[in-house]
Assembly symmetry: C2
């Protein structure tokens, strides 16, 4: 077992991860084992085995995804855009180092290419090795791993992708620039003329400012902008939002959702767009 | 300020409530002030002022409702049954000491009587005084407070109520019996021949056993049984379930939801019944 990383604490003989991302509310997980721990060039990367959520990917001390609930986020960020675009062939995923979004996208037989641009190769490496419940140890030949800065990657392409999925961590650390207007502008240009994008746009409970700003950026660029939500048990506040920007398509075109999933189904494809009354955009 | 209750801890000069209800996952709240703290005949009752969620009702160290998100739970447990029963006149609320469910039920002008049976008078007293964002300092003359055991109360009535709302705490402590089959049987008999009931049925993430057992009890008694969910940010796992048992009505009859709410709206009345794929009943 590696030395005890600074993000972990011993309490009464047990090991705990106490997330330090919020000043006034903390979520703590009892940990069975530190499976992997290393500082990459970009962040501190851990795989922890927890009692309640199984193995978890933890970046800079913050839980990103878990064996137990990772499918909710990954299915929601993938199947909604891929059920709105009628014929996505060329898909780009920015971030998404846990490989879960790529795994879901690969369930579509008409998707011919999935470019996965992740800045931190170590995240992909450890998720493929130690977090296969989420990554599926992805070996689909249509998935191309590109270890690069997503911001630089999208600048290189014009009129190229059908669907772009921005699966970023929180807007601090390496993901900060993925919430800025210029990035969405580059995404707009990298998409084909009927392309669409989706990004995670944080918590409607705790980050309404980030959510509104992201929605605003996308609304200023795309003719169609839609917000949808889900519940992610390991994210503070539970409720989480995604913003979709589309050049053309706006309705779910799938009539009989037939992918093998644990969260998304035909009814959820539609009802995720029904927002609580307090979310006014 | 009262003495520091045992449920609170000083950490680096700050006061924290660290919920102790789960062995392997804890949620902690930074606290500004202990507004009220007392052991009643039934449980330890606190009103805490927290940084992220405002004032909170805390029973035996577990957060029940908060100024910031209490409306989600209270609107969902009230407006769904009251939008399925076409003409509820006589409503019973069991538990619900924060008065939030009664406050929502009082928004229906055709409701003539609301019996609120709460075992612990202190909960009602402190919520009316110190948690008016949730309780609304309820003074509607249609609301009758009865400080009694809900189990004994329902045994006294046959063919009496249109709608019964079981707003209990977790199935430990004073609420344990509110999850037992005999209780639902008494509820069945206390309802009129076209009556319906709803109860909170715990987390689909952490308490699938309680959820399935509750659903099973109700399904064995009522011709119509339906599950719906919402997100409660201060409950572990975020996702929360409610089970509805009805003798006759099963569809939302409201076409234009016109109550002043912060969470429920016309779309949510319907889409809350769309369950994630992993919830198989």
């Amino acid at each position: 077992m590696p030395d005890q990383p600074k993000y972990l604490q011993q309490l009464n003989g047990d090991l705990w991860l106490i997330e330090d991302e919020r000043e006034n509310m903390k979520i703590s997980y009892r940990i069975k084992e530190v499976v992997f721990s290393k500082s990459s060039a970009f962040q501190h990367v851990m795989i922890l085995d927890s009692y309640d959520f199984g193995r978890m990917l933890v970046l800079d001390g913050v839980v990103q995804t878990t064996s137990m609930d990772g499918y909710i986020y990954n299915e929601m960020i993938s199947h909604i855009p891929l059920s709105i675009h009628p014929n996505p062939k060329n898909v780009l995923i920015i971030g998404g180092g846990d490989c879960g979004a790529a795994r879901e996208a690969a369930k579509y037989s008409h998707v011919e290419n999935i470019d996965m641009v992740e800045i931190d190769e170590w995240v992909v490496k450890v998720c493929k090795e130690y977090l296969q419940e989420v990554s599926g140890n992805l070996s689909d030949p249509r998935v191309h791993f590109i270890f690069d800065d997503g911001i630089q990657h999208v600048k290189k392409y014009k009129n190229h992708y059908d669907v772009i999925i921005v699966d970023s961590s929180d807007p601090i650390g390496p993901a900060k620039q993925l919430f800025e207007r210029s990035f969405y502008q580059d995404i707009y240009h990298a998409l084909k003329e009927d392309g669409l994008m989706v990004c995670q746009s944080q918590s409607p409970i705790f980050h309404m400012d980030v959510l509104k700003q992201t929605f605003g950026h996308i609304q200023n660029l795309f003719p169609v902008t839609k917000l949808y939500t889900t519940t992610v048990p390991t994210y503070p506040g539970g409720l989480w939002s995604f913003t979709l920007g589309s050049k053309k398509y706006q309705e779910i075109h799938v009539n009989h959702f037939d992918k093998k999933t644990k969260y998304v189904n035909q009814a959820i494809l539609h009802s995720c767009f029904n927002l609580p009354e307090f979310i006014q955009l």
